[in-house]
């Protein structure tokens, strides 16, 4: 099988300073005293292999490192230790993924985002109608994005993200803001992705959807992978750990 993502011994450490120094003045005045840091392991020794066509669920409590992991896969954060090898293009949809500029109109944002995701202007032209229809926002496209509700922004962002012709889709809490009908649409899109052999990494707290779509699931706890394997087993383990 083709390994599309390979994560080896990945750790991400955030250094939490006991005192905050983020000005030159503070650094200058206190240069003789070293700042004491506490190392916080957001991710610890992660090993994960994703094969082409996998639909991977990532579950775990709040603060267990799910979003950090996605951000590192998306190359937004850099790993402190270890390596992430990605063999393919990525379309990220992170933390209510609104990589938008509020001062531009929705239309301009669609082009901006589409192009950053690797489409050409012409390709966005071609897909524009699809994107707008999917988001059900045809009447609002000339409005400035900052006047959109958060649900509208997320819908638009997701519509752009799925139209990027990527090999890997990272979905972090896609369903958190959308209404029921939008959720249904997302599920349909997931099914389509599965048919076309796309690779998806899906972070969520919504366990029924994990069970429905994911062939494999990883359970994160305090930055480490507690278990990784067939979804049924992992979800069961997670529920048990919640009770215990």
């Amino acid at each position: 099988m083709d390994q599309i993502i390979e994560i080896n011994d990945l750790s991400k450490i955030f250094r939490i300073p006991h005192e905050r120094r983020n000005t030159l003045k503070e650094n200058f005045l206190n240069f003789h005293r070293k700042v004491k840091f506490e190392d916080f392991y957001a991710l610890k020794n992660i090993n994960l292999t994703v094969e082409k066509g996998d639909f991977i669920g990532i579950i775990g409590r709040n603060g267990s490192g799910k979003s950090t992991l996605l951000k590192i896969i998306a190359n937004i954060y850099s790993p402190t230790i270890g390596k992430v090898i990605v063999n393919g293009s990525i379309s990220p949809f992170l933390e209510l993924g609104v990589g938008f500029n509020g001062d531009l109109s929705a239309r301009e944002n669609v082009y901006l985002n589409g192009i950053i995701l690797g489409l050409s202007r012409k390709e966005v032209d071609r897909k524009y109608k699809k994107i707008v229809d999917y988001a059900e926002l045809a009447d609002f496209m000339d409005m400035k994005l900052k006047n959109f509700s958060s649900g509208m922004q997320v819908r638009l962002a997701f519509s752009v993200a799925i139209q990027a012709d990527a090999d890997i889709y990272l979905c972090d809490e896609v369903l958190a803001v959308g209404d029921a009908s939008f959720q249904k649409k997302c599920y349909e899109t997931f099914r389509e992705f599965m048919k076309t052999g796309k690779t998806i990494i899906y972070v969520t707290h919504d366990l029924p959807s994990v069970k429905e779509f994911c062939n494999k699931t990883a359970l994160l706890d305090h930055g480490a992978i507690l278990s990784f394997g067939p979804t049924e087993e992992v979800v069961k383990k997670y529920l048990e750990s919640l009770d215990g």
Partner: protein
């Protein structure tokens, strides 16, 4: 992991971000754009009245001399101040999607470059109205524009990367710009300064660019080749240094912003 920067995709991203920068900067008012255009001209008018009419600096073609200095300095000051905050302004983008971070600084400085070009058009109007005839040396100014852009880009890369870590840099930078304005021969002619100090003034590549540009336009000849070689070397070295610094800070930009 070092990827190629000048791919088709990245050039498209650069173009798209630069155009949207330009739109955001000026969409709120046409007048806003007119003001940025006129800012150096207003500064020029004030300085001209003070130093030419009141203090009577003995410089031939002082208006051209001053205007050129003000326009070049203004390009430097405006571009670096905006670039310094560029990661902060683009926060929502860089924490969501990956693309080479240098594109943000490139696009920000290119947008400032457009203002500079329009300002230079005003300078050319003044030049045509003056009693200076056409010289072939005018064309050599293009070399200085390229060097000027790379010096501005270098400074922008450094301050933008450092600002993510050191948030008081924005205040410090404004003070430094004030000092720089008076240490650079913009208003006063170099001849007013004792010759012993000239080499200190010339440590500043902007001083060289401003002085040489004046020679090219007002005196009508190209400065000696060794001076040009020095300027070119300084520019290249400075740009290389700025890339090194930027590379060091680049991986942490998204998490620290």
């Amino acid at each position: 992991m070092r990827e190629k920067l000048f791919t088709k995709k990245n050039l498209r991203i650069l173009k798209e971000i630069a155009v949207s920068d330009f739109k955001v900067r000026y969409q709120n008012s046409i007048l806003g754009y007119v003001w940025t255009l006129f800012k150096p001209l207003l500064l020029f008018a004030v300085l001209y009245v003070v130093f030419s009419v009141f203090m009577r600096f003995p410089v031939e073609n002082y208006q051209l001399y001053l205007l050129l200095g003000v326009i070049i300095w203004n390009f430097f000051a405006e571009a670096t101040v905006i670039a310094l905050r560029s990661f902060e302004t683009k926060q929502s983008l860089i924490t969501k999607i990956y693309f080479p971070r240098i594109i943000i600084v490139l696009s920000s400085t290119l947008t400032s470059f457009m203002t500079f070009v329009l300002n230079m058009l005003v300078f050319f109007v003044f030049l045509t109205l003056s009693n200076i005839g056409f010289h072939l040396s005018f064309f050599f100014f293009i070399v200085y524009v390229v060097e000027l852009y790379f010096i501005i880009l270098s400074v922008s890369l450094i301050v933008a990367a450092l600002y993510v870590k050191f948030r008081d840099l924005s205040h410090i930078w404004e003070v430094l710009l004030q000092v720089g304005f008076w240490l650079t021969p913009i208003i006063y002619p170099l001849s007013m300064i004792p010759a012993d100090y000239h080499r200190f003034i010339y440590l500043n590549p902007l001083a060289r660019i401003i002085e040489y540009s004046r020679v090219v336009f007002i005196d009508g000849y190209i400065p000696a080749i060794n001076l040009n070689v020095v300027l070119l070397l300084v520019t290249v070295l400075f740009f290389a240094l700025s890339l090194l610094i930027f590379r060091k800070f680049e991986p942490q930009i998204a998490e620290n912003i």
